[in-house]
Symmetry: C2
Subunit: 316 residues, 2 copies
Amino acid sequence: MDWPPALDDLRMAAAIIAPHIHRTPVLTSATLNAMAGAELHFKCENFQRGGSFKLRGASHAVLSLDDRAVANGVATHSSGNHGAALALAAGLRQAPAYVVMPRTVPAVKQAAVRRYGAEITLCEPTLESREASLAEVLEKTGATAVHPSNDAAIIAGQATVGLELLEEVRRLEIILVPVGGGGLASGVALAVSQLSPATRVVGVEPANADDAQRSLAAGRIIPSDNPQTVADGLCTSLGNLTFEILGSLEVEIVTVGEEAIISAMRKVWERLKIVIEPSAATAVAAVLEGAVDVKGKRVGIILSGGNVDLDALPWI
Amino acid sequence: MDWPPALDDLRMAAAIIAPHIHRTPVLTSATLNAMAGAELHFKCENFQRGGSFKLRGASHAVLSLDDRAVANGVATHSSGNHGAALALAAGLRQAPAYVVMPRTVPAVKQAAVRRYGAEITLCEPTLESREASLAEVLEKTGATAVHPSNDAAIIAGQATVGLELLEEVRRLEIILVPVGGGGLASGVALAVSQLSPATRVVGVEPANADDAQRSLAAGRIIPSDNPQTVADGLCTSLGNLTFEILGSLEVEIVTVGEEAIISAMRKVWERLKIVIEPSAATAVAAVLEGAVDVKGKRVGIILSGGNVDLDALPWI
């Protein structure tokens, strides 16, 4: 695979993972359109296997490993969704999966990762603790590390969300993507820049975890350390690969506040009647709060996942 | 229209309402299939305009009225969804809508009815109070009453859920339908008995609001009076028309407990990532709790609606 991945690489990734993922639907809502004054197209990765887009990248990465590499299993650190996805992906090759998770992630995400067959190691919610714990796991098991976002195969896998959305909705003017480690945003930006260069890709971060915005403005990676946000899937920071892609493609980043995220999440539940997680709601919040000017435009919004602890809803 | 409605009447209803309703998707879940040991096909009327199947019957009824009848508006008593649907349907003809609601229905359903443009009159949560309040409204406004379920046009409208499901999924062996006033179950049973007589239609009631089961067993209508159930859309009782259809077509009725309803609702939110209301969950509960033997069968489940008060989830 080229670096950065070329269009052919993205299409190859789509072909490799197609038998293992759902082609997710695109939903619309007249009420949400009226609220936004725009034409909103919601790409529903909350309906993806494992409950988020993460299986795209994880299955692409695992299916791309050679047999020897996969024999000792795969390992990662993850705030939840990538861990679940990697466990599912490892299952495609009957390989063990080891997942390091911050002890602060919602119980439902820990349970999902376990149910999909991974062995979990809990750590502190800091990048240092994640990386140290993962190093120990790798040492002990001989597994191959699969990073949640800063990995060419992962980025190419996440890009397939963009390929599908461009096929499903014509002439999108803006596509909004939640940004944590930046794998999804990088993949979508790669696809869009090659297939539909007139379409703007805008990344959305919680203001409380705005490392991508700060890093791209500064021209160097400035990670967030233990950020506090309801969007628990967006606590990780850009890596060198995602920083490079988002920077070179000039992807604009906007931020949204905690209350705006919660309010947007609730509106999607009430209007679209679907379950999305706070991380997915950031992109909706950016539209409803005017962080991006979408008036009169055709807008794609990537609802990145739907794994929520139903006992701990943020508005209660 | 014939009584009982003939297949041509149901197809005519479908043609009349088609421009105004969504054709709702059918979803599946490998995990829920594994839990049930069956192949489950969920017809998602929670995605219908107004958040429930009720717009089908209401729009058919309102569009079937002559201009003079509709001029003074339409009125009904409703625990929520039919009221919202009637308000939407009245809007199709620029007619006023008057809705009598028990003061116990969730705030979100009251708000929806108001938002769709209806004038609300609150009453006590008993059949007597509903009927007395509605009589007053009719007297005052000259509006035409549109009953939530015990009305031939309503039943023919709800039957279109059955027509669609039979087109969308071949060779269903069982179709499960929530039963309140019985309009949906009667309509679906009429469609299925004529188009796919080998398919069993099973009605599902909360054990706490089991008037249909008791009435059909006794051979006479025995209404529930102010039943207490989390499935607030299923508190109404059969009327003479729905009693006649469910009886003559020998529709079997099963019941499910409150905890089973709540547990099934939660499983659908977690697995399908969609928002359904407790009334819709009764049909899922019947499968997951073994109230109906579905092992190895192809099963249709009608998820009747998704209007839930997100501040008052039943498991919290």
